[in-house]
């Protein structure tokens, strides 16, 4: 039995400790935001946040997560009540098929935690690990800039 803290809630999961987090999120916890894209840490569709840092959940065995805080896109808001980052992505219509987008949102979340006013270079470097097959990159970048600007507004 492994204890996982996801979006502030404690879960006890009966899974092999080697199981990557992605499969536990989707199979055991019904948190289907994170997606399987490649299973190799090469596409970013599985990106979640652990202790404030973006990681590939397809490569994170749950054994390493005891006592650490996992945040998924479901922890940032709901469809009825989206959080500020999700609202920025919606406002910029950053999703087309939606497959990459949960990973993109979590990558943005980790970036803004570390760097609330990121430069364009910083944003692009941060997102290098996340692929989008539909090509909505420009909108995703706009959403991140928007969220950063609105974050600065909110903190005034």
């Amino acid at each position: 039995m492994i204890t996982l803290t996801v979006n502030g809630r404690v879960h006890r999961v009966d899974a092999d400790p080697r199981t990557p987090l992605l499969y536990v999120l989707r199979g055991d916890l019904a948190l289907n935001g994170a997606k399987f894209g490649c299973g190799l840490g090469q596409c970013g569709a599985c990106t979640v946040v652990v202790d404030g840092k973006a990681v590939f959940s397809c490569l994170t065995p749950i054994s390493v997560l005891e006592g650490r805080a996992v945040t998924t896109v479901e922890g940032l808001g709901t469809a009825d009540d989206p959080g500020p980052l999700q609202r920025a992505f919606i406002a910029e219509q950053a999703a087309q098929c939606g497959y990459c987008i949960a990973g993109m949102v979590m990558r943005a979340h980790a970036l803004l935690l570390k760097s609330p006013s990121p430069s364009e270079t910083e944003i692009r470097e941060q997102f290098a690990a996340n692929l989008c097959r539909c090509g909505t990159h420009m909108r995703i970048l706009a959403a991140v800039r928007r969220a950063a600007a609105e974050g600065r507004q909110a903190s005034r």
């Binding site: 400790p17 080697r18 199981t19 990557p20 299973g39 190799l40 840490g41 090469q42 652990v50 202790d51 840092k53 973006a54 990681v55 590939f56 397809c58 490569l59 994170t60 065995p61 749950i62 054994s63 390493v64 650490r68 990558r107 980790a110 970036l111 570390k114 941060q126 290098a128 690990a129």
Partner: protein
């Protein structure tokens, strides 16, 4: 009597001091107006570009994210930090006011235009062996680069290392200006490789151990292993501990991009490979391999068997290492146990020379920071695991990898090195 002796001794000391100062004093060479790029013959510039690629000038003379050749890269040495200088043709902050004679003196004698001795982290003991026409070609290439105005930061060297005239003494001891000896009993290709390697590529600057005064150890210790920028540079000589054999062919493939027995270059060596990939003909890389490969130990069936046996293991012999085993199974195995199916992975981590290194630095750099090819190039893409794993989990993993994928003794200093490298940089 005693007073006379004392006066004579003082006189000798004064004379020695004057001689020392005389040896260490070099005149400034008059500045020139920057020669217009069009004044250089295009073929000479092209030759200079080829030489600069083999010599890897770009890597030390460019800051991370900085403009080409504009300097600013900090190089950590046991004596302090030295910054790569701006060698663009900017007249004030670069070498734009340097005549060819000044450039030649820097390359051969390690003296800048103003007469200051240069630190041998700039490997002039190698460049001293360049042919005159090659120095001229390099000058033509450098003077036709884009000038960038960027002052080089001052070095951070404690006393007495900041006393440049002492370098004159260093040069007396260690600067061998003799050209690379031509060996008539060897092929033209070998001789060409010897020249390119020793006069230009300066492989020994990283791959040869250095003595207490920072000079490469000579003769029998040539290519016996060294380090560069916090990475271990493995031996290229008979003491090579590589689990997989090296040959001219595998060395050419490795230097070109990637090789299925050994993998690809990471860290500072990846920059060398990137330089060689631009405008260096295969024949020249072949020549370098023809010269360097014979230093390596001959292939032995014993070694091949040993490596195969280690690769066939599914766990470390002896104590089980459960913490590291679980991390490997969940985080690493999906790519590294694919039997080489995932592009740019070798069949078993047991093949990597990193596993038999004297310390875990190289392995930790790769685990903590990952690898990625230069923009636009194809190559291994490995994620960084610094953010996914805690410091303890990284240490457990590294201990496991060493135990499972090698028969070398456990790293005794692993926790300290993990601690230093883990807290070195933060990820995202």
């Amino acid at each position: 009597m005693g007073r006379r002796l004392a006066l004579i001794l003082i006189g000798i000391v004064v004379l020695l001091a004057i001689a020392g100062v005389a040896a260490a004093w070099h005149p400034a060479i008059q500045p020139v107006a920057p020669p217009p790029p069009s004044s250089f013959d295009k073929k000479l510039v092209a030759r200079g570009e080829f030489l600069a690629r083999v010599g890897d000038c770009l890597t030390c003379h460019t800051a991370e994210g900085g403009r080409a050749f504009a300097g600013g890269l900090p190089l950590a040495t046991p004596f302090g930090t030295i910054y790569g200088s701006n060698i663009t043709p900017d007249p004030e902050t670069g070498i734009g006011a340097w005549s060819e004679a000044a450039f030649r003196r820097a390359m051969r004698d390690g003296i800048d235009r103003g007469g200051r001795d240069l630190y041998p982290v700039f490997p002039y003991e190698h460049f001293a062996k360049l042919a005159d026409e090659d120095v001229a070609a390099l000058y033509a290439y450098m003077m036709t680069r884009e000038p960038v105005r960027r002052a080089t930061p001052p070095n951070q060297l404690p006393f007495p290392y900041d006393v440049r005239p002492l370098l004159a003494g260093w040069k007396l001891l260690f600067l061998d200006r003799r050209p690379v000896a031509h060996d008539a009993s060897r092929s033209d290709e070998w001789n060409r490789g010897a020249y390119l390697t020793e006069a230009l590529a300066h492989c020994g600057a990283c791959h040869t151990p250095r003595n207490r005064l920072g000079a490469e150890e000579a003769a029998s210790r040539h290519f016996a292993g060294g380090e560069a920028e916090g990475w271990w540079a493995p031996p290229l000589d008979a003491s090579s501990p590589a689990p997989m054999p090296w040959s001219e062919r595998t060395m050419v493939d490795y230097l070109r991009s990637w090789e299925p027995l050994h993998g690809g270059a990471a860290g500072p060596m990846a920059e060398v490979v990137d330089n060689l990939a631009h405008g260096v003909p295969e024949a020249d890389i072949q020549a370098i391999a023809t010269y360097v490969a014979p230093f390596m130990p001959p292939d032995s069936p014993d070694r091949a068997e040993r490596t195969q046996a280690i690769a066939a293991r599914t766990e470390p012999p002896g104590a089980p290492q459960p913490a590291g085993a679980v991390v490997y199974a969940g985080a690493c195995a999906v790519c590294h146990e694919s039997g080489g199916a995932v592009p740019y992975t070798v069949r078993s981590l047991a093949q990597h020379t990193t596993m038999v290194a004297p310390d875990p630095r190289n392995l930790l750099h790769v685990v903590l920071d990952g690898t990625h090819p230069p923009e636009g190039a194809s190559g291994p893409i490995m994620p960084s695991f610094r953010d996914m794993l805690t410091e303890q989990q990284v240490a457990d993993l590294v201990v496991y990898l060493r135990a499972r994928f090698s028969d070398a003794p456990p790293w005794t200093d692993a926790p300290a090195i993990v601690h230093r490298l883990y807290s070195g940089r933060s990820g995202s």
